[in-house]
Structure formats: C-alpha cells, structure tokens
C-alpha cells in the first residue's frame, strides 16, 4: 500500500527524522536562554513557543516531501500512474506527519517541563498538537508540490505556507492558553478538529493538482 511504501522510505532516511525532531527540541530550548528564565514569563509563553517551534520544524522537512521522487523520476510515474494522485498525496502527508508531527506530540510535554507548564495542561497541549500537526503536513504538501524544483525553494515555500499556517497556530496555542486561564480550550480544539477534517478532505486534491502543474 502507498502509505506503507512512503513510511518505509521516510524511515530509511532516519537522519531526516532525527534532524527535524532535534530542531524542535533545540528551538524550544533556545527561548529561555533568550528571554530569561523568569518562571512566570516562561509559563506564559510556553504554549506559543512550543507551537511555533513545532510549526517551523514541520515546515523544514517539507522540502524533502517530493524532492527525491522528483529527482529520480518516480514522481512522473506517480502522476501518470494507476493509483489516484490524491491518494498518493494523502499518503505522503500522512507519512510526513508520522515521521515529524507525531513525535512532536509525544515529546512536547517533556519539553514543557523546561517551562514549568502546569502538568494539568500537558493533555491539552498534546491534544492540540495531535489535531494541528496533521493539518500542517496536509497544507505543507500543497506548498511543497507548488515549489517543486523552483529556485528559492525553501524560503519561498515558507512564504507560501506560513499565512495558511497562522489560523492553526492561533487555535492550537490558543487552546492551551485558554485552558491555563481556566476557561477550557474546547472551542479552539473543536475548530482545530474542523480544520483537520477540511484539510484532510481538500488538501490531497489540491496537492495532486499542484503536482500535475509542477511536472508538466
């Protein structure tokens, strides 16, 4: 099955997996060094910092989503091939998430320790990332497909994809912030869930269209 193949390919490049995760850890750890270790300030900025770092780290590995297949001709075969291109695109997004997003969901609470975040908030932090990071992978796939082989690649990809990421960031970090203020983050989580459903429904289709445009 397509997902399995993508996963295997991703796993084989284990260094890529580790690099994205390491970037996430390092960026989160950099902030206390930069803004000073005052506990109240750290507790306040923790959701935002973790979310922004997750976003940036997810974006970093997007370039490689299609690049290797594009270089060795596999992509052309996929575009012309038997399997619906949308399914392939969805599989790639899923593989990307399993390899970059999902690990972040797991280790985020550990990183939150550095910020002395209330343990009761670990759950909502992980949940917000669990709902949000797949959306990042799905939307990121569109950007990666559009900028395939284009000069200025990585930075251009960031410029295209970041405006679309902002609502996810606002809802994700917002959920944790609401919860820490005692107001419960359910509204934001529901919106994140809705974003996930919409993204899962439309992004693979848009990514497939972008792949066709890029490989003409």
């Amino acid at each position: 099955m397509v997902v399995w193949r993508e996963l295997l390919v991703a796993m084989r490049r284990r260094s890529d997996v580790a690099t994205a995760l390491l970037f996430f850890v390092i960026v989160v750890s950099l902030f206390p060094l930069g803004v000073g270790a005052e506990p109240n300030k750290l507790r306040a900025i923790a959701p935002g910092v973790i979310w922004v770092s997750a976003l940036l780290s997810s974006m970093l590995s997007l370039n490689r989503l299609f690049a290797a297949d594009h270089a060795d001709g596999t992509l052309e075969q996929m575009v012309l091939g038997a399997a619906p291109l949308g399914v392939t695109a969805a599989a790639k997004a899923l593989a990307h998430w399993l390899v970059s997003g999902f690990p972040m969901v797991i280790i985020a609470p550990l990183l939150a320790l550095q910020y002395d975040l209330e343990p009761s908030l670990y759950g909502i932090l992980a949940l917000s990332l669990l709902l949000g990071t797949p959306v990042l992978s799905l939307i990121g796939g569109i950007g990666a497909a559009l900028t395939l082989g284009v000069r200025g690649g990585g930075v251009l990809l960031a410029l295209l994809v970041l405006p679309l990421y902002v609502p996810v960031l606002v809802m994700g970090a917002g959920a944790v912030e609401m919860a820490s203020a005692g107001l419960g983050g359910l509204g934001q989580l529901l919106i994140l869930g809705a974003m996930l459903i919409v993204a899962a429904a439309f992004a693979p289709w848009a990514t497939a269209a972008a792949l066709r445009i890029s490989s003409e």
């Binding site: 284009v150 200025g152 902002v166 269209a209 445009i213």
Partner: protein
C-alpha cells in the same frame, strides 16, 4: 458581445487600453466627488472628531483588498479550468493592485486606531490578523509567480495558490461577527438600513467606486505590460 473573440490576448490588447483610459477618467471624477463629500460635506463625528475621516479611505480600501482577491481567484480558477492564456495573465495583473489596497487598509487602519483605540496595532484581533494574512497571500502569489521561469506553469501554480487562499476572504468578512475583540462590528450591511449619516455612507460608497475604477485602469495597464512581455501583441 463577442466574449470569446476578446479572450485572445492579441485582440484584448487594444481593448485594455481603451478600458484603462475610460476607467482612469471615471476614477478621477469619482475620487474628486468622494473627497469633496468626505472632507467637506460629511459632518464631524461626535465621538471621534475629525479622525474618523480616515474611514473614507480605510473602508473602501479594505473592500477593494478583498474584492480584488476574489476576482483574482475567479480568473485563476477560469484559467485552470479552461486553460486560457489571458485568464492567468489577468490574475497576475490584479495581484499587485490588490496587495497595494491591502497595505493601504492596514496602514490607514493603524493611523485610525492610534487616536481612537490608543494603539496602532493589536495581535489577536481576528480581522486585523486576517487582513495581514491577506497581504502575505498576495505576496506569496507574486513571489511564486516570479520564481517560476515558464510563464504557463507560473500562471497555473500561482492560480492554485490563489484558490487555496480564497478561504481567507470569508474569514476576514465574518471575523467581526464571530469574534468580538477590538475592531468594531459591521456598520454597513446589504440587508439592513445603515447606522450612519447619509453623507458619510455616500462618501464611502463613492470612494469605493473610485477605487474600483482605479483598480480596473491599473490592472488593464499591467495586463498590457504582461502581454507585451510574453511577446504577444504582434499578431
């Protein structure tokens, strides 16, 4: 009207010049009228004093920033669906003008916000943020288009991006209804009677029309430039 005949860049080229001239004149006349109403006829606001007069630029510019994006997305979709060259060129021609009005909306909004709300900008207000995202969407469109060498692929890739981003427009429009943070709610509605003085409303509408005519003129000039760049006018 022979629509499909004008769909060819060669035949559209002279029409664009005529449209540019006509709409340019219309824009100038409407702007003069709008500014007269806005700066001389409309009364001073009870709460905001003279500062409110920024509304005659800010609101029409914001309307245009959203309207142009929708039109751009329309041409983008048409180009992708029908594979016509001119559609992609129209979308590319609209983007810079749309970005300009988005910037003007943000700039005048900031200058209006300072004396009335006490701040130039606030993070976390849904409408301000969505308008800023709109500016980045325009920039992304232009950057993507500029980075791809082949004009056809550039048109199509940017078109897809425009369509993906169009979901932002309803968010900007409805954001003041869904979230009640800082930016005031809608004072102009298609269905209800307006809550402001007639001269204020008419000033805004006339300026909006002026900006619209201006946008058409600027876009016509720009699309002529694009047609020339692609070496098409010689038929």
């Amino acid at each position: 009207m022979k629509w499909f005949w004008y769909a060819s860049p060669q035949t559209f080229y002279p029409l664009a010049a005529k449209l540019a001239r006509a709409c340019g004149v219309a824009a100038a006349v409407l702007a003069a009228a709008g500014l007269y109403v806005g700066l001389f006829v409309a009364p001073t606001d009870a709460q905001q004093g003279e500062a409110y007069r920024i509304i005659f630029i800010h609101v029409p510019a914001a309307w245009m920033s959203m309207f142009i994006y929708v039109v751009m997305a329309f041409w983008a979709g048409l180009g992708l669906a029908l594979n016509t060259r001119l559609s992609g060129m129209m979308a590319a021609a609209l983007a810079p003008t749309g970005a300009l009005f988005t910037f003007i909306a943000l700039w005048t909004g900031a200058l209006w916000g300072r004396p009335t709300w006490g701040t130039y900008w606030v993070w976390g207000d849904a409408r301000l943020m969505s308008e800023l995202i709109l500016l980045f969407l325009y920039f992304g469109f232009m950057a993507l288009h500029a980075s791809i060498e082949d004009p056809r692929r550039a048109d199509r890739a940017a078109a897809l991006l425009a369509l993906v981003g169009v979901v932002n427009i309803p968010i900007i429009y409805y954001s003041v209804k869904w979230w009640n943070t800082l930016h005031q709610g809608a004072s102009v509605s298609v269905t209800e009677s307006p809550k402001m003085a007639a001269s204020m409303l008419s000033g805004m509408l006339v300026m909006a029309l002026a900006f619209w005519m201006y946008s058409v003129a600027a876009t016509m000039l720009r699309v002529r430039g694009i047609i020339r760049e692609r070496g098409l006018p010689s038929s």
